[in-house]
């Protein structure tokens, strides 16, 4: 009888509030004196596409690295479908979170197909012995992996380039291949770090549809992007990170209308700000000295690229 009650209780709990696919609470990441991410909470639910925006150097990529175990967060914890994740990248992927990188990190000298096959690593078991002995089990698993990988390549439209080297693909296709490689691990949550960076508007639209299609497969998506039209089109919910802190979170329309977000991107005029005339003067003087001019008041520029 007792057992019965607990089970029913559990099911009741599950139906009323399914654990979020991703639940990050109080994630803080410090590099020496620099706090790149400051106690950020974020939830992603099943079937959601969540956007993460913020100016350069806001800590978006660092936050991703904390989620995927590439960094061990200074504080806070990350759980996936109710279980707390250890900060080890391969265990995070095993649990069901896959990611892409801001500056594409494909296996450049492997073929397109091999890249996707590497993505299957956690979902296959064959070790050295089975590879050496080549029993029927090995052949079956290998064939199944190939089949799944080809399906994914068809999904992103690269099946005709399966035997090309990843390095020889055009930029947009490399980004897509990274997504396919991530999908190969059958994730429940996909993290995309600037998936349309460097793409033309048409490629961006295709990527948008691709992400919708991924969501329709039941995979939750968390996406970093600077292209606002893309993000507000795509996402069910958007969070804005500024200087490591979560500033706003809400539906695209709420975030879009928020003054603080606009200010974070464009900068707010502060008191005693130099007038246009003075600014031009300073600029001219600096140019003469050969230094790069920086008259923007609040812009926080960070070095290009990420450093996981």
């Amino acid at each position: 009888m007792n057992d019965m009650t607990t089970t029913t209780e559990n099911t009741v709990e599950n139906t009323t509030e399914t654990p979020a696919v991703l639940d990050a609470s109080g994630v803080t990441m410090r590099f020496g004196g620099l706090t790149a991410v400051r106690s950020v909470d974020l939830k992603v639910h099943a079937g959601e596409i969540v956007g993460l925006i913020g100016p350069n150097g806001a800590g978006k990529t660092t936050f991703f690295n904390c989620l995927t175990g590439l960094y061990v967060p200074t504080e806070g914890k990350v759980s996936y479908k109710g279980t707390v994740l250890p900060p080890k990248p391969h265990l995070v992927t095993q649990a069901g979170i896959a990611r892409t990188f801001q500056n594409i990190r494909l296996f450049a000298n492997m073929t397109v197909l091999e890249n996707v096959l590497v993505g299957r690593h956690t979902r296959t078991k064959e070790g050295l012995w089975s590879a050496l002995l080549r029993g029927p089990g090995f052949k079956k698993a290998e064939a199944a992996s190939h089949k799944r990988a080809m399906e994914l390549l068809e999904f992103i439209g690269l099946e005709h380039k399966a035997d090309h080297l990843a390095r020889n693909l055009p930029y947009g296709e490399q980004r897509k291949l990274e997504i396919a490689r991530a999908l190969a691990s059958d994730p429940g949550l996909l993290l995309l770090d600037e998936p349309t960076a460097g793409m033309n508007p048409q490629e961006t639209r295709v990527t948008e549809e691709l992400i919708f299609a991924i969501r329709d497969q039941g995979i939750a998506v968390l996406v970093i992007e600077h292209d606002m039209r893309f993000i507000f089109n795509l996402c069910d919910r958007v969070a804005c990170l500024v200087q490591g802190e979560k500033l706003v979170e809400g539906t695209p329309s709420v975030v879009q209308g928020d003054e603080r977000v606009v200010a974070a991107y464009l900068g707010t005029p502060f008191e005693g700000a130099p007038g246009a005339e003075e600014a031009a003067e300073v600029e001219a003087a600096e140019e003469a000295q050969g230094t790069t001019s920086k008259t923007s008041t609040t812009s926080t520029t960070s070095p290009e690229g990420e450093t996981p």
């Binding site: 391969h90 590879a131 080297l165």
Partner: protein, 578 residues
């Protein structure tokens, strides 16, 4: 007006064609003249090795000039579009012709100069020598005037499959012959000439597209090609009258096998192991100590299978002990630790002599008198007569080592084209991305490292019986005699990382050159240093590019590349040679 322009437009290419044809004829004439000149006497005395004094009968280095001259003639005929010779050059004759002409020139002039230098002056040359020198210069001068006719290979004509198989068999037979000739060269001059001729000729066959066609055939009939390679390699001892060159071949096999094992570690997983030879030493010492020799501290005599297992397992343990703490770290730590381990191993076995430490290995004197192997009454130390041909004792070891090498080839190709092999390459390419794809970097690297160690240990157990003495100085980081760690690494890099045939070819070259060119002794390391620098500058992927590097250069026909590309066609030829 219009007719005028068309006329000039037509006559110009026609002119150019006739000019090119003239040079082709000239090349042909030069090739024939070079060939003919080898039937003359080149020198008066028989002091120069090989006896080049006889009219009407080419000897020694003249034979090499003869071969180069004949090949030049043949390709000049193909360039003239003679019917029935087009198959010689699917992708164009000019570049092949230039290389062959250079080969003939190089061999001839090397011979003539060697005669003049060694015998003290030009007076030692017969007129025939001058004729040869001039004749061999003609095709070079002419071939470099030829227009480049590089073209894409057409689809080869369909041959019946028995004919294609026959071609494969013939190719391996030729390969066996060429390699055997190289191993059997009696004196340094002949080996140098051989290297010049063979180097240019092989490069020419590659440029002509003939090698590509052959490799297409070997991939089509994979199992037959593998069998042919095996038979060709196994046939080597049957071509030998004495044990002298079989010993060289055994040592090449040991070196090549260990290099191939290292290629798993370096080429696939990207782990820089600078002390790899120590694992060979661990295997060899283990086998020697349990072999029943009186010099051993242990009074045991294991049967061979048990000592192979023991050697492999002990090497495995060493591999794990070295690898486990260092592979967690990134980058160069492994290189430093393995370098240290290599030296520690050598110095430790040198000190376990009962004076500086416990008496286990006899210190610098090593473990002598390792007995010959005996399988079911078949004594490896004795000669046996098989099929009417007497095989010396090294032939037995040669065949045993060949089996060991086949085992390593099998391990390499099977592991390489599997989930674990892809994980190795992924780690090598980008460790961060690989771990983010769910690969446990440490585990996968440790497997590669331990597998490499085990394979080296296995080779070591055979080595102990071949050498019959095991001393610490056989396992140094760098020394004049391969295998040592630096040469192993050089063999992998020279041959081509991540390939099977690459390290086999690399090891063959790196063993043969110092063994044949004894006079190089002092300059050998300098020479290899320069050679490696040149290689890195002009062909960074090594002599044999792996499939991935090949894709980079032949983007268009990559769909023809089969999935199991890791074992490319060159493997057979090398196996035959090594």
């Amino acid at each position: 007006m219009t007719t005028d322009t068309t006329q000039t437009a037509e006559t110009a290419p026609a002119n150019r064609n006739s000019r090119a044809n003239m040079f082709r004829w000239l090349t042909l004439a030069g090739g024939l003249a070079t060939t003919a000149s080898t039937f003359l006497a080149w020198t008066y005395t028989d002091e120069f090795p090989g006896d080049l004094t006889v009219y009407g009968y080419p000897g020694g280095l003249q034979v090499l000039t003869l071969v180069a001259g004949l090949l030049t003639t043949l390709y000049a005929l193909a360039a003239l579009d003679i019917k029935g010779l087009r198959w010689l050059a699917p992708t164009g004759t000019t570049k092949a012709l230039r290389l062959l002409a250079l080969g003939a020139l190089g061999t001839t002039w090397f011979t003539v100069i060697a005669i003049a230098v060694e015998l003290g002056g030009m007076v030692n040359l017969e007129p025939g020598g001058f004729v040869a020198a001039v004749a061999s210069a003609i095709p070079v001068a002419a071939a470099f005037q030829l227009p480049d006719d590089t073209r894409k290979a057409k689809r080869p004509k369909e041959l019946p499959s028995w004919a294609e198989i026959l071609i494969i068999v013939a190719a391996f037979a030729i390969g066996l012959f060429v390699v055997t000739y190289g191993i059997d060269t009696e004196y340094a001059e002949l080996f140098t000439g051989y290297m010049i001729t063979a180097g240019f000729a092989i490069a020419a066959l590659f440029k002509a597209g003939l090698m590509a066609r052959l490799s297409a055939l070997t991939t089509k009939y994979r199992s037959i090609a593998v069998a042919a390679a095996f038979v060709a390699a196994a046939a080597f001892p049957f071509t030998q009258n004495t044990d002298q060159f079989t010993l060289i071949a055994v040592n090449i096999l040991i070196f090549a096998t260990v290099a191939l094992g290292l290629n798993i570690v370096v080429g696939l997983a990207g782990l820089l192991d600078l002390g790899y030879v120590a694992f060979l030493g661990v295997g060899a010492y283990t086998a020697a100590l349990v072999s029943g020799t009186t010099a051993s501290a242990f009074d045991v005599q294991f049967p061979f299978w048990a000592s192979v297992l023991t050697g492999g397992v002990v090497s495995l343990i060493f591999g794990v002990v070295i690898g486990a703490p260092t592979l967690r770290l990134r980058g160069d730590y492994l290189a430093i630790v393995t370098l240290g381990f290599g030296e520690i191993f050598r110095i430790t076995v040198g000190n376990l002599d009962g004076v500086s430490g416990p008496q286990v290995t006899n210190g610098p004197n090593g473990v002598p008198n390792v007995p010959d192997l005996v399988f079911f009454g078949y004594d490896f130390g004795e000669s046996h007569t098989i099929a009417g041909i007497e095989l010396g004792s090294y032939a037995n070891y040669y065949l045993l080592m060949l089996l060991a090498m086949i085992l390593v080839v099998l391990v390499f190709s099977r592991a390489g084209s599997s989930r674990i092999g892809r994980a190795w390459v992924a780690i090598r390419e980008d460790e961060t991305a690989a771990t983010a794809m769910g690969i446990n970097g440490f585990r996968v690297k440790l497997i590669a490292f331990a597998l490499g160690a085990t394979l080296a240990g296995l080779a070591g157990t055979v080595q102990a019986h071949v050498q019959s003495t095991v001393v610490p100085e056989m396992y140094v980081f760098a020394g004049p005699v391969p295998p040592n760690s630096a040469f192993l690494l050089a063999a992998v890099i020279l041959g081509g990382m991540g390939t099977i045939s690459g390290p086999l070819i690399g090891a063959t070259l790196l063993y043969m050159i110092p063994a044949k060119l004894q006079f190089l002794q002092d300059y050998q390391l300098l020479g290899f240093g320069i050679a490696l620098i040149l290689l890195m500058r002009f062909r960074p992927e090594g002599l044999i590019a792996n499939r991935r590097a090949q894709l980079e250069y032949h983007e268009t026909d990559q769909l023809d590349v089969p999935d199991k590309g890791l074992t490319d066609s060159g493997v057979g030829i090398t196996k035959a040679g090594a």
